[in-house]
């Protein structure tokens, strides 16, 4: 819940920066300090207002901070039936196992390979929404443009379960695609699209693109709308053709947005989420679909290695926070503006 919102949240910032005009470099730090907390205007602090807010702070504490206490389960051999006090304290055993037990190392290696492969495919295809937006912007018929935008954004709003249902009804061995191919005489036995360990990374990336392409393009369409029209005027005066205008005017204007999103996806390298991979997971593709988030679920809640799962999840969270700060520092240095 929290880590994925990081991305989203900062995407927000980008949109707004773009909205406020191209090349706007002012740091958007209006959040708290800008509006005068000047001593002259300071009134008496009001404790009653804090009391109004406090029940919500308790909720935030319970669901965000308090679970951190659960990290100590990684130091025990936790058995739910025995409770924490009945479970054996094992120190850093799980962390040591992660790097010393050959079976465990191999398993983690596979999971990390899947995680990185899918993340990198996601990063590699992250340019598609940009291209989509640049070309959609060339469409002059307004209703057509709106219609395309409406229809391609729809998949973003359905759950992964429903995406899986669609995948199932189209690509299972009795699904539409196999039926059509068989009717056309192109194949004689149904092709295994879902129950297969072939091209799992690619198909998962393809489904992500199907779901997110139109939605991802909106941010760029918004950015294009904010490009200074005089840039296009002068490009035209200089005799730039359509593709030259795209390449030398539009795309450079979109680069800041793109780079921010790119950096954030680097920060989220380990966070693929589990929902998509969980619903598509089956006995055939398990080897290649198991990303870190899914692995934690699989061993922790179905395999009952809760402590090991906690240890892995904990490392993942820590590395993610470090990545986020690193990426943020890079962004600060390069753009003079922080991401988060």
């Amino acid at each position: 819940m929290t880590t994925s919102s990081v991305v989203q949240e900062t995407v927000a910032t980008t949109v707004d920066h773009q909205g406020s005009g191209p090349g706007s470099t002012e740091p958007g730090k209006t959040a708290t300090p800008a509006k005068g907390d000047k001593p002259a205007r300071r009134r008496k602090t009001n404790f009653g207002m804090f009391l109004w807010v406090s029940p919500f702070l308790v909720l935030a504490f319970l669901f965000s901070y308090f679970p951190l206490y659960g990290w100590i389960y990684s130091l025990y051999d936790y058995k739910p039936a025995l409770g924490l006090s009945g479970s054996e304290f094992v120190g850093f055993q799980w962390f040591r196992l992660l790097v010393s037990s050959p079976a465990q190392v191999e398993q983690i290696g596979k999971v990390l390979t899947n995680t990185f492969a899918i993340s990198f495919l996601g990063i590699a295809t992250s340019v598609l929404p940009l291209i989509f937006a640049v070309f959609l912007n060339e469409v002059r018929v307004k209703w057509f443009r709106n219609m395309v935008q409406t229809l391609t954004t729809l998949p973003n709003f359905i759950s992964w379960v429903l995406v899986y249902m669609i995948a199932f009804s189209l690509f299972s061995s009795t699904g539409l695609v196999n039926d059509v191919l068989m009717d056309a005489g192109l194949i004689t036995t149904p092709m295994k699209f879902l129950d297969s360990d072939q091209h799992v990374w690619l198909t998962m990336t393809a489904w992500s693109i199907w779901k997110g392409l139109g939605w991802g393009a909106i941010i760029y369409l918004a950015a294009i709308a904010g490009v200074d029209p005089s840039l296009y005027e002068s490009a035209k005066m200089d005799g730039a053709g359509r593709f030259q205008t795209m390449w030398y005017v539009t795309i450079p204007q979109l680069m800041p947005t793109y780079l921010v999103l790119l950096l954030l996806s680097v920060a989220n390298l380990l966070n693929n989420g589990m929902e998509q991979y969980f619903v598509f997971q089956n006995a055939f593709n398990k080897e290649h679909i198991q990303v870190l988030d899914l692995y934690v679920y699989n061993i922790g809640l179905t395999g009952n290695s809760m402590s090991m799962a906690t240890a892995i999840g904990m490392l993942k969270s820590l590395i993610s926070v470090v990545l986020l700060f690193t990426v943020n520092a890079i962004a600060k240095r390069v753009r003079g503006q922080s991401l988060v």
Binding site: I166, S169, D179, G214, V340
Partner: protein, 325 residues
């Protein structure tokens, strides 16, 4: 926190994404190359749009076609043997009515709670005189950047008595920092004179919030409401992790089970048919396919119905992407 002020004015003007026209050429300027480009460009977008929308269409036409035909996978372009009986019959399935009720309840309650909390907290944190405002605001905002992880979360939920409890669908989503940040920046863009006038008149803080700010925040609250509602309706993972009690299953979870359990589904189908007795003929007897298709349509219809509402909020919505949660 990097957050730019979203003023009420900007809010209303940023409703739609309006691409600029890069180079306005008059018709006679169009070259053959232009025609070729546009033909391809339109063709590709038509294909992309169809790829996105056909699967939904496929689900819908199958759910209203004769069940013996849909089971053979022969409904591809138009409904065959149109009937709507499926939508009555699926509700005879074990657990479907309760799952629908749970889904609706969590969406309504969860959205209401999120919207109210976001509005209230966003407003309160814009009040400079609040005790410890900066600290507590950061206390909330920071929670966006870390997470304890799945298992600690599960254990804590269990200790709090929230596993197999309806409130696990609502309580964790009440306080969503990003929505709060959004409301706060929105409120800071509103003129303070109104509040000052009300204070002079002796209105308390609750009254100022309810009568002055709340009615004027509707654009931002509508945005939050829609994205919170979609996220609630689509939520699947929390049922998977925290719920084993069948009476608390959601529609999404039930659909997931229906996709994977062909055998028990056939059994359920037979039962549903049995309940209807003589009514059942081949075209209206439930099959695993008809059940899956019909439940999918039930799951997706609310989204499609409120979809026109989204459009106005698309740009804002990207910012609220926390929905994906």
């Amino acid at each position: 926190m990097t957050t730019e002020t979203i003023s009420p004015a900007a809010e209303s003007s940023s409703a739609a994404v309006e691409p600029v026209k890069p180079n306005k050429k008059r018709k006679q300027d169009r070259t053959a190359g232009d025609y070729a480009f546009h033909t391809w460009n339109y063709a590709i977008f038509v294909v992309l749009a169809l790829l996105c929308v056909y699967p939904f269409y496929y689900l819908i036409i199958n759910s209203v076609s004769a069940n013996d035909v849909s089971a053979l996978g022969e409904v591809r372009l138009v409904p065959v043997g149109f009937h709507l009986a499926n939508f009555e019959q699926v509700f005879q399935l074990n657990g479907l009515t309760s799952a629908a009720a749970v889904s609706v309840a969590r969406t309504v309650l969860g959205t209401a709670a999120t919207v109210f909390a976001s509005a209230f907290l966003g407003f309160m944190f814009s009040q400079r005189q609040m005790w410890g405002r900066q600290f507590w605001y950061r206390f909330l905002v920071v929670t966006m950047y870390f997470s304890a992880g799945l298992i600690p979360m599960f254990i804590i939920m269990k200790n709090l008595g929230l596993t197999n409890n309806f409130w696990v669908y609502v309580l964790p989503f009440v306080v969503q920092p990003f929505f709060i940040v959004l409301v706060k920046t929105y409120v800071e863009g509103m003129p303070r004179e109104l509040q000052e006038a009300a204070e002079v008149d002796g209105a308390g803080i609750a009254r100022i919030f309810l009568t002055i700010y709340l009615p004027n925040m509707t654009p931002i609250l509508a945005t939050i409401a829609i994205f919170a509602a979609v996220s609630q309706w689509n939520s699947f993972q929390d049922t998977l992790i925290y719920i084993t009690d069948q009476s608390l299953y959601t529609l999404q979870y039930l659909l997931y089970m229906f996709i994977n359990q062909a055998n028990s589904l056939a059994q359920a189908a037979a039962n549903a048919g049995g309940n209807l007795g003589a009514l059942a003929d081949a075209a209206s007897t439930q099959t695993p396919t008809s059940i899956r298709m019909t439940v999918s349509v039930l799951v997706v219809l609310p989204i499609i119905f409120i979809y026109p509402l989204f459009q106005r909020f698309f740009v804002k919505g990207i910012m609220l992407g926390a929905v994906k949660g």
